[in-house]
């Protein structure tokens, strides 16, 4: 591979990861940045989307494509996929349709996880909510490892080759689709902030008591926010599985709860631009560090990933102490006053 090829592959891979994290971070931002809900358990929704996609996609593909087989989609995963993948590779529209279907299912799974983990505490003080959400975040990996029929236990399963129709450009096609979905979701988030719903969510974040006195049903709005955010997290998890081609029960709190928090904290919570800035900076830096990690192997007597933990934990703490607003401070989104200058004069006069 030429150096140029290496660079391109690096950028493509980075863009895919960037897209997935952007989606998840927007999902977190809707909950924390906009509504002030400290969801320390978004890994639950991400893993939910990932597991559902991993666990059901092969089964769904088999039934929708009309493939005749007695093999089990989970336990005989490889063999079943050998029957399914050629069909997908030759019929791009079908593959895309399946992709959309899996995303919808992943989103629903995410929403469901969000609902389950928040329901007991959504009426209560934010400390209780935070603790509950965190506690639920730990559970899916345990079930995933233990309950084999779900995603095949510790080794996991593969998923249908959704991007196989692109042949050798599989990863480029995948990254492109991921970026498209991320852009759409990001655009939606920007739109949400400008709607009355977004405004009310922010009001609840800023001062819950006053919002209550102004007639806002806090529990209902919190639920909407959590459902929306969790749906996005589920879509992110689902996309990641489809892009990587497989799912394993390794959706850790570090990767899918802590890092998103770090990214939106870094960029600036609440503002869309902040989420983008934080995600881009972090993903790029982290990818670079990991890429050059092989230079450290042998020098350090331990896996560099642990150093990563320490470093990132320290950085987060430093941000919290010295620059908690993040890089991009939130801009107040004043609604367009639909009076032109001329109108204003007429009304004043």
């Amino acid at each position: 591979m030429t150096p140029l090829d290496q660079v391109i592959l690096f950028v493509v891979d980075l863009s895919a990861l960037l897209a997935v994290y952007l989606i998840i971070n927007v999902g977190l931002n809707v909950q924390e940045g906009i509504t002030g809900i400290p969801n320390f358990g978004i890994v639950f929704a991400v893993a939910g989307g990932a597991y559902i996609t991993g666990g059901l996609s092969t089964r769904i593909a088999v039934s929708l494509l009309g493939t005749q087989t007695n093999l089990d989609p989970i336990f005989d995963n490889i063999s079943v996929l050998q029957l399914v993948n050629p069909i997908l590779r030759s019929q791009p529209p079908t593959a895309i349709a399946l992709l959309i279907l899996f995303l919808i299912i992943g989103g629903i799974a995410g929403a469901l996880m969000g609902l389950i983990s928040s329901a007991p505490a959504v009426r209560l003080r934010e400390d209780y909510l935070a603790i509950t959400l965190l506690a639920f975040g730990e559970i899916l990996n345990v079930i995933g490892i233990g309950y084999k029929p779900l995603i095949g236990g510790p080794i996991g399963v593969n998923v249908p080759d959704i991007f196989g129709w692109a042949g050798q450009y599989r990863f480029y096609a995948g990254t492109l689709v991921l970026l498209l979905v991320a852009t759409a979701i990001f655009a939606y988030a920007g739109y949400l902030i400008k709607t009355p719903l977004g405004r009310t969510l922010k009001a609840i974040r800023d001062n819950e008591t006053v919002a209550r006195s102004l007639g806002k049903d806090i529990t209902q709005y919190r639920t909407v926010s959590i459902l929306l955010g969790s749906t996005l997290c589920g879509i992110g998890g689902s996309l990641w599985v489809l892009y990587s081609g497989a799912v394993t029960p390794t959706y850790a709190r570090f990767d899918w709860t802590f890092l998103p928090w770090l990214m939106i904290l870094l960029g600036g919570m609440g503002s869309s631009r902040g989420v983008l800035v934080g995600t881009v900076i972090f993903v790029a830096l982290n990818k670079l560090i990991i890429y050059y990690k092989h230079a450290f192997v042998g020098i350090l007597p331990f896996d560099i990933v642990w150093l990563n933990y320490i470093l990132l934990g320290l950085i987060t703490i430093l941000i919290l102490i010295y620059r908690p607003e993040g890089i991009v401070r939130e801009k107040w989104t004043a609604p367009k006053q639909n009076l032109s200058a001329a109108d204003k004069e007429v009304k004043a006069g």
Binding site: K202, D206, V210, S213, L214, G215, D217, L228, W332, A334
Partner: protein
């Protein structure tokens, strides 16, 4: 003129502290009534209990002929009762205009499904913005309209509080010290506007206020509270000359 708000034998304690000790009072429709009393007499607690932020231990509260005892703040607001806070509480990261817009009732744009289709809420939003802008103009806050609410002065925050109440189209306003920290000229202007609102729209005002020097000339009735009880109620001249009231203010 019938009674719009009736508070009957309301009690509320916090542990061993009896904040409200059998409070009974009436507020007649289309009047400007103020509630006076020394610090700690329970005035803000009474407002909190009426507006549902706290529940009474005993007693009843009626709005017109409906009993509203124990209703949630959301229900109370939707019924047509608005309140302001003694310590101005802004939505800090929203603009002054947005602070008012949040107070708008039944905005279709607040529902998730409707928010997705701009056409379903754009008109209501335009109308709300116009209404809010007019209110800001009334209060002299037009220049601060796009400023972050946390950056305006304390006195201006009080005005935003009032502006928010005005957005609600409420028929009963419970104002908690609306002009404390506001310069006398503006305070007089505010009370003058309160009178005008009463004339024009038939709004009823129940105001907790200390600045008797400013407020007294505008009010129809005065209620005096001490240690969680109402000790006097009636027209201003009658109440301020009441022996118990004088003792409470001078003796305390």
């Amino acid at each position: 003129m019938g009674s719009l708000l009736e508070v009957k034998d309301v009690k509320r304690s916090f542990g061993s502290l009896r904040a409200l000790d059998e409070v009974t009072l009436n507020v007649d429709e289309k009047t400007v009534t103020i509630l006076i009393g020394p610090n700690g007499s329970g005035k803000t607690t009474l407002i909190n209990v009426i507006t549902g932020l706290q529940k009474p231990d005993e007693g009843h509260i009626y709005y017109g002929s409906t009993e509203i005892t124990g209703w949630s703040p959301q229900q109370i607001y939707r019924t047509g009762i608005a309140r302001t806070f003694q310590i101005p509480s802004m939505f800090g990261k929203l603009t002054v205009l947005e602070n008012l817009l949040v107070a708008e009732k039944n905005h279709p744009g607040e529902s998730f499904t409707k928010s997705l289709v701009r056409r379903l809420w754009a008109k209501h939003e335009r109308d709300a913005v116009e209404k809010a802008s007019k209110i800001l103009q009334l209060l002299g806050l037009s220049e601060q309209s796009d400023m972050s609410a946390s950056l305006v002065s304390g006195g201006q925050m009080k005005l935003v509080e009032i502006g928010r109440a005005l957005m609600s189209d409420a028929k009963l306003y419970l104002l908690d010290e609306p002009v404390s920290g506001v310069n006398p000229t503006l305070a007089h202007e505010i009370f003058a506007r309160i009178i005008r609102l009463r004339e024009q729209y038939g709004i009823t005002f129940f105001i907790v206020e200390h600045r008797l020097d400013i407020a007294l000339q505008y009010v129809d009735y005065v209620n005096a509270m001490v240690s969680g009880r109402v000790i006097a109620a009636g027209p201003p001249e009658q109440v301020i000359n009441d022996a118990k009231v004088i003792e409470a203010y001078l003796g305390g």
